[in-house]
Structure formats: C-alpha cells, structure tokens
C-alpha cells in the first residue's frame, strides 16, 4: 500500500519536475549567454498556456495548430522583451538587468491580467483523460506527454549546443564574450537568440502543464521560481543537469506533500534552494569550476 503511494507520488513528481527542469533550462540559457537571471522567465511559462488558450478558444484553431502559434507568439514576445527592455540599457550591469527583468515580469503579468482577467482557465488534455495504471499507480496521458516532450527537448538541446555551429558559438559566448567577438560572433545577436530560445522553452513548459494544473495570469511566479530552483540545483547548466535538478525537485516536493503535508509543498522547494546555495553553490553535479553551457 505504501509502495503504491510512493510510486504514485514519484510519478506525478516526475512530470511536474520535468516542467521545472524545462523552465530551469530557459533560465540557464539566458544566464550563460548574458550573465543575468531573467526573472521574467516565469511569465513566458504563463504566456505559453494563456496564448494556447487564446488561439484555441478565441480564434477557434484546433489544438495542433494553436500550440505552434502560441510558441511562436511567445518567441516574438521574448524577442521584443530583449529588444525593448534589455538591449537599450545604457549601463548593462547585472544588477540593472536583473531589476529590468523583474519589472518586465510585472508588466507582462499585468498585461495578461488585463487581457484575460483573474480567472483560472483549463486547457484540454492533448490526448484524452483516461488514466493509465502502472504497478498500481495511475497517471494521465498528459503526464506521458510531458515526459516525452521533455526528453525530446533535452535531445534537441544537446544536438544544438554540441553539433551545430550556432550552438557552439553560443557556448563560446557563454565562456568568453570578448574572444567570441574576436572570432566574428555577433554577441548581441546571440543574446537576442538566447532570449528567443528561452521564451520558446518556457512557453512549451507552460502549455504542456496547463491541462494538468490549470493556468491563469499569475502561474508564472511560482513556476518561475521553481524553475530557477531547478537551474540552481543543476549548477546553471543548460543541459541534462538542470533537468535532473528539476526532476529531483519535483519528486521531493511531491513526496513531501504526500507523506508530510501538502501545506509544505512550496516550502520544500525553497528549503532545497537555500540548502544548495549554502552548501553547494556550484550545483549538485558541478565541480568548483563547472562547465556552464
């Protein structure tokens, strides 16, 4: 009986954890390209869900068309965000940039509230709602969607960063921006690109989780912070380490909520965040000087 329960908690933790991981990868990509923590990352997660809803219900597109439209629209939002809020900054010190991203996040959230109101909305699941039972635990098809999409994105990510010239250039920027400029890489373009990729990842995370957890104008705050937590556990790696960080966080959270009390669910994430920052600030898997790509 207990085993069933634990398995159940782990499975549902795994899928929320995958979401945290994806959001965390978005954080890391921008951090590595620019050295800033983009606190507006959570808002792109919100946009993913809300824009899908917009295309689905207001514009009456089928789901398979609404999803790519929502991702594309979020990417445009990410592009505008970099162009209008990040790039014009005269003195781009990290602290200024971080404050800007916080301001940006409040703005985006406010606009979303004006546009869609304060209600929570549900997105239909991608392929039905019939539970699937595994060893006595049950999961929904949407959980499987989440895991499959996450694995797919991790693979695409890996391919991009290690096997394309553009991805290698982005890693070069992450390591040494000046030297990257000296080989002819347009660093500002890479920064712009990192915002576009991150907003795409954020919105994908937001729209695959929306059928399970509902979405509203303010889901970005908590999801963003959890994603940030995953990125910290993963040592700001834009690869598998952050996804594992997210999965770990998701499972611990779900076990904690199930076995202790659901009231502690969010607290667990932040206790882990603080522990990691105090004990292993380089991340769970990082060496003291880890490869941040």
């Amino acid at each position: 009986m207990l085993f069933d329960q634990i398995l159940q908690y782990c499975l549902s933790g795994l899928s929320t954890g995958a979401i945290y991981g994806l959001i965390g990868v978005g954080f890391s990509i921008i951090f590595n390209a620019t050295g800033i923590i983009n606190f507006a990352q959570g808002e792109f997660v919100m946009l993913g869900g809300m824009l899908t809803l917009l295309f689905l219900e207001t514009l009456a597109l089928p789901l398979w068309a609404a999803i790519p439209c929502a991702i594309a629209a979020s990417m445009v939002a990410g592009l505008l965000f970099e162009r209008l809020a990040i790039r014009p900054l005269r003195q781009p010190t990290p602290i200024n940039l971080v404050i800007i991203t916080i301001g940006g996040s409040i703005l985006i959230r406010g606009l979303a509230m004006l546009a869609w109101g304060k209600d929570t909305h549900a997105l239909p699941p991608f392929s039905g709602n019939d539970p699937i039972s595994i060893l006595g635990a049950t999961i929904l098809p949407q959980h499987i969607w989440i895991l499959v999409v996450t694995v797919f994105i991790v693979a695409v990510n890996r391919f991009y960063f290690y096997h394309t010239i553009s991805g290698k250039a982005m890693r070069a920027c992450a390591y040494n921006r000046r030297a990257a400029g000296l080989v002819g890489i347009d660093v500002r373009r890479m920064v712009l690109f990192s915002f576009v990729i991150s907003s795409a990842l954020g919105s994908i995370a937001g729209l695959i989780v929306a059928p399970l957890t509902m979405t509203s104008y303010d889901v970005g705050i908590m999801l963003g912070l959890k994603g940030f937590c995953a990125a910290i556990i993963g040592g700001m790696s834009s690869g598998i380490a952050t996804v594992i960080g997210g999965l770990l966080l998701g499972i611990l959270e779900s076990l904690g909520a199930g076995l202790i009390s659901s009231g502690y669910k969010d607290a667990i994430a932040f206790i882990i965040l603080l522990l990691i920052l105090v004990i292993r600030p380089q991340g769970l898997f990082g060496k003291a000087e880890s490869e941040r790509v």
């Binding site: 010239i165 290698k168 250039a169 890693r171 070069a172 390591y175 040494n176 000046r178 030297a179 990257a180 400029g181 000296l182 080989v183 002819g184 890489i185 347009d186 660093v187 490869e291 941040r292 790509v293």
Partner: protein, 247 residues
Amino acid sequence: MLRLKNINTCYGKVQALKNISLHLAEGEIVTLIGANGAGKTTILNTISGVTPAAAGEVVFSKQQVASFPPDQIVKLGISQVPEGRQVFKPLSVEDNLELGAYLRYRSREGKSAIHADLERMYTLFPRLKERRKQLAGTMSGGEQQMLAIGRALMAKPKLLLLDEPSMGLAPLVVQEIFRVLNQLRSESGVTILLVEQNAKAALKLADRGYVLETGKVILEGSANELMENAEVKRAYLGKDKKEIWER
C-alpha cells in the same frame, strides 16, 4: 593596407593612446614593442573594435573602420589572436577551430573549403590534430597558443593581429611559434601586426617595427635599424648588451 591616423583611445578617463599613427603594407610583418602599459594591446583592440578609438581614423583597404564592432572587423579580414590566448576552454580543439570559421559558415561558404582549411591547420600544427577531440582547456599553454593562432587563421584573414604569442611559454615553444609565423609569411603571404615583449625574437621576424612608450610612438624604422638602435638595445634587448650596461 592598414593605416592608423592620430588614434586616441581612452579607458574611462585614462588616455591609453595618444595620437598614434602607423601603417602596414600588404604582406609585411610589423612589430610593436614597448614596456607594459605602453599601449600595444590597446592598439590591437582599437583595430579590432573591442575598445573603439575616441578620435582618429582607422583605414583598412581604403575603408573607414574605426567605429565597426568586432564581428564586422573580422568579416573584413582582420583577425586577432588575443593576449593570453583566450581559447574556448570548455570546447574541443576542433570546435575552437570551427568557430574560427564562424563567419564563413554564416556566409554559407561550402563546408569542403572550411574542411580543407581545418586540415591545413592540422598540418601547420600537428599537435592540434592529435588533440582534436580534447577540451581546449586541458592543453598546455603552448598548445593553446597554437590553437588560438589556428582559430584566427580559420577566418582566412588578410591581416593577422598577434598579441604576445610568446607570453608565459617555454623558450622551445616560443621558437616553434615563431617558426610557424615565418612559415605563414612565406606560404600564404598574410600580413601580420605582432605585439611582443620578446623584442629580440619579434625584430628578427619582422620587416619593420614601432617602439611605444606611454601611449606614444617614440621610434619607428626597419627591424634592422631598430635592432641596432642604442636606445632599443638598452631598453628592450636586455642584459646581453654589456657594452651599454657596464659603461
């Protein structure tokens, strides 16, 4: 080919270059010598667009390039091998070389041409071929220097800016680096602007030289002239000039 006219460059309120004028003809090797803080590196960074000049002209192939960003400068055919090598340590040797050809990939130049150049780098620096899959940061200083030079050459520059290629390297390795530079000159006729602390080796290789002191050119001439100049001997060629020290 390249001409700097009355260049002034500042770091904040500190003026690092004061009315620098110099020129390079096609196929020449020109060296800049001078003590620490004389402004040698700043000259290269001004040409590369890393620290743009506050005033003055940089003319390359009859084009004003003083306000160009670094990537545009590379596109025009000026590549810099920066001080301290600055290879991309977490990336493999081959990735580093490929990134040297980044703009050629972007301009949809055929992969075969880039690949041929990669092989050319491997013949120039056989050591890099052995280590092509290794992370650049795990190599020795000399190997990283070779990689930095190879990376810059992958852009097919018309003008190569070299900043202290011998810094912190063992004498044998320095010899090897200078041998390669010599070979480059005879094989590909690339124009080189070389900044060096090792004035002796630099003057041996170069056609002409400029001597800098606190941001100003105080002396210029052919390498032979400079090598024979008493002041240069005393200040930069060092203690083996007994006749000067023990006068």
